[in-house]
Symmetry: C2
Subunit: 344 residues, 2 copies
C-alpha cells in the first residue's frame, strides 16, 4: 500500500486551541504525521510518495466557494490587524438566535462565521498545510481510482469535522468528503465512508446528509457526553434523498474492543449491502486506551484486527488520516490498521 505524504503539513505548527477554559498548545501537532510516516518506513509496508497538486475547484464541490477562499486569506487578514496574538482564532459564532446568512467584513467576524469552535486556527503555514492535505487525499484517491487495491492518505490537518462551510475540531477542508466526491465525479456510482475516529465526523455527515450516493457510517463516542456534542445521535439517518444512508453508532465512555468490534461488524454488513464502488475509511486511532483526550479502551493489538475486517469487504479502499493524539503510539496503531488490511 502506498502512503501519500507531504512535508508541507509541518508549516501548520505552533498553533493553539481553546479547551476547558484555557488556550493550550494544539493536540493536533506535526509530530503526529511524522511518527506515522517513520513507522510506515520502518515496517516497509509500502513506499511513501509525494502528492500531486489538484485544483481547489475539487474542494468547492463539497465546500462553499467563499469558505474555501476565506481559508486562503484568513492569516493575511489577521496579520493586517496588527495583533500580538500569534494564532488567528475565532471568538464569536453564529449559534442559536443569530444570523448565519450575512458574512461580516471583519476578520474576527469571518473567522467565527466559518467556524463552530476555536479549535481550527491559523498560523503562517496553515493554508499551505491545508492545501497539501487536500492534495494528499486526492492523490491517494486517484491511485485507488486507477486500480490499486488501497492507498493511505496521510492527511494533516485532518478533515472530518469540517462541514460545507465550517471549520472546527482541527479540520478545514474535509479530505475524506473531497476524495469521495472526486471518485464520484470520476465515474463511481456509490461511495461508502466508514468513520472510525473516536469523535463523530459531523462535517462529513452534514455534507452528505441529503444524498444517496454516499453512505456514511460513524462509530464514535456519544455526543451527549463527548465532543462535538451537537451531532452524531443515533436518530440522524439522513434526509430527503439521503434518508437511510447515514448511520451513527454512538458508544459510551469506556467502550472496549468486544463492543466496538460488534459495531464494526454491523457497519461491515451495512457496507456490504450498499455495495459501494470504493470504501473511504476516515481513520482515527483516538479510540486507543492511551489517548490523552479520549475515553475508549482499544489496545494496540486491536488495530490490525480492524484492518483485517475492513479488508474482508473486498473493496477498493482509501484510508484518510483523521485523529489520534497519543503521539508515541499513533504510529504503531495506524500502521497496525494498514498492515492488518494488507494481510487480510
Amino acid at each position: 500500500m502506498k502512503t501519500i505524504y507531504s512535508p508541507r503539513h509541518k508549516g501548520h505548527s505552533g498553533h493553539t486551541e481553546l479547551a476547558e477554559g484555557v488556550v493550550v498548545p494544539g493536540f493536533e501537532k506535526p509530530e503526529r504525521a511524522e511518527i506515522i510516516r517513520a513507522r510506515m518506513e520502518e515496517t516497509g509496508l509500502g513506499p511513501v510518495v509525494a502528492p500531486v497538486s489538484h485544483d481547489l475547484a475539487r474542494a468547492k464541490r463539497v465546500h462553499d466557494a467563499g469558505y474555501v477562499e476565506f481559508l486562503g486569506r484568513a492569516w493575511e487578514m489577521w496579520r493586517a490587524e496588527g495583533r500580538d496574538a500569534p494564532v488567528a482564532m475565532p471568538f464569536v459564532f453564529p449559534a442559536r438566535g443569530l444570523r448565519a446568512d450575512v458574512p461580516p467584513d471583519h476578520v474576527d467576524g469571518l473567522l467565527g462565521y466559518y467556524s463552530f469552535d476555536a479549535g481550527a486556527n491559523f498560523v503562517a503555514g496553515t493554508w499551505d498545510a491545508i492545501q497539501s492535505s487536500f492534495d494528499t487525499a486526492l492523490t491517494a484517491a486517484s491511485l485507488v481510482h486507477s486500480g490499486e487495491r488501497s492507498a493511505f492518505a496521510l492527511c494533516r490537518p485532518p478533515g472530518h469535522h469540517a462541514g460545507s462551510m465550517t471549520m472546527g475540531g482541527y479540520c478545514y477542508i474535509n479530505n475524506a468528503a473531497v476524495a469521495a466526491q472526486w471518485l464520484l465525479d470520476e465515474g463511481a456510482n456509490r461511495i461508502s465512508i466508514l468513520d472510525i475516529d473516536y469523535h463523530h465526523g459531523n462535517g462529513t455527515q452534514e455534507i452528505f446528509y441529503r444524498r444517496s450516493d454516499v453512505q456514511l457510517i460513524n462509530i464514535h463516542a456519544d455526543p451527549k457526553e463527548e465532543y462535538p456534542y451537537f451531532l452524531g445521535h443515533a436518530d440522524e439517518e439522513g434526509e430527503g434523498d439521503g434518508e437511510g444512508f447515514n448511520h451513527n453508532y454512538p458508544l459510551p465512555f469506556g467502550t472496549e474492543w468486544a463492543r466496538w468490534c460488534e459495531v464494526l461488524e454491523e457497519a461491515r454488513a451495512k457496507i456490504a449491502a450498499y455495495a459501494p464502488d470504493v470504501l473511504v475509511v476516515s481513520l482515527g486511532v483516538d479510540t486507543y486506551e492511551g489517548d490523552p483526550i479520549s475515553k475508549f479502551r482499544l489496545q494496540s493489538e486491536h488495530y490490525p484486527q480492524i484492518g483485517e475486517r475492513i479488508a474482508r469487504l473486498n473493496l477498493p479502499t482509501l484510508f484518510v488520516m483523521e485523529g489520534g493524539y497519543a503521539v508515541e503510539a499513533i504510529g504503531v496503531n495506524v500502521v497496525g490498521v494498514l498492515s492488518g488490511f494488507e494481510g487480510g
Copy 2:
C-alpha cells in the same frame, strides 16, 4: 433618581474571556459598577438602595427554563470535573450545520449549547451576581411601575447580549428584557427599549423579534465590522406580529456625536409615535472615544445631552446598565446621562 445596586455583583470577579486569539482578564470587571456607584454618591443625584429579591420565574418569562436552571448549576458541574482552569468557559458551539435541539449531558457541551461565544464565563460568585443583577433590574422596574419618573438599575453583569437561551458577551440574564416583560405582566400595554450601547443588543432583539408589545431600537456599531457580527443589520425589522417594531441603526467605526445624535433624534421620533407606557434604556457608554474595545467618538460632554433628549420624551424611564469599559470615565459618563435626564 434612585439607583438600585447590590454589592453581590463583586462575586463575579477574576473571570476571563476569549478575545483576539488569547484568553484575557474580563473587560467586564467589578470596578465598572463600583466607579459608577461612587460617582452617583459623589454627585448626590439620588439615593443608592439595595434590590429586593424576585422569583426567577420572572426570568423564565423571556428565557428558556432549562437555560436559567443551567446558569444556576454551571459552576458546580464544572467544578465536579476537577479542572485546573479557574473559569468555566465553553469551547464548542451549535453553529451552522449542527443541532441545537438536543442538550448534551456533559458540562462542556451544555456550556456551548447555551452560548454563542466564550465571553460569558463562570467563577464561584457568578450565579449569585447574575441573580443580584436580575433583582436589581426588577426592583428598579417596580419603582417606575409605582409612579417614580425614573430609576437606574446598576446591573452587573449586563444583559443585552443574552438571548432566550444563550449567554455571551458578558451577559447571562437579559435584565432589560426581563424588566420589560415584568412591566407588561404588571399591566403595561407597550414598552419601548432604546439600546444605546455601542454593541448591538442581539439578545433583546431575538427575545422580542416576533412581538408588537415591545418596540426595540438599537443604535450601534455596524455588525459587518463589529461584535456581535451576526445580528443588528438595518434590514431586521421584526417578524410576524413583530414586523415593524424592531429598528436597527448600524453606524460605522469613527461615528461622532453629530451623526450619533441625528440617529437618536430619529429614534426619539419612533418612540414618540409608538407611545409606550414605559421607556427602558439599555445604557451602555462604550460609545465613548476612550473606550478600550470600541470605536465611536462620543465625548463626556455628550452624555448629559443624551439624557436630556431622552427626558424630553416625557415617559416613565427605566435605565438599565449594560456596557462601557473605560473604567475611569465610566462613572462620569453614566452619571452624565442620568443627570442630563434629571435636568431635562
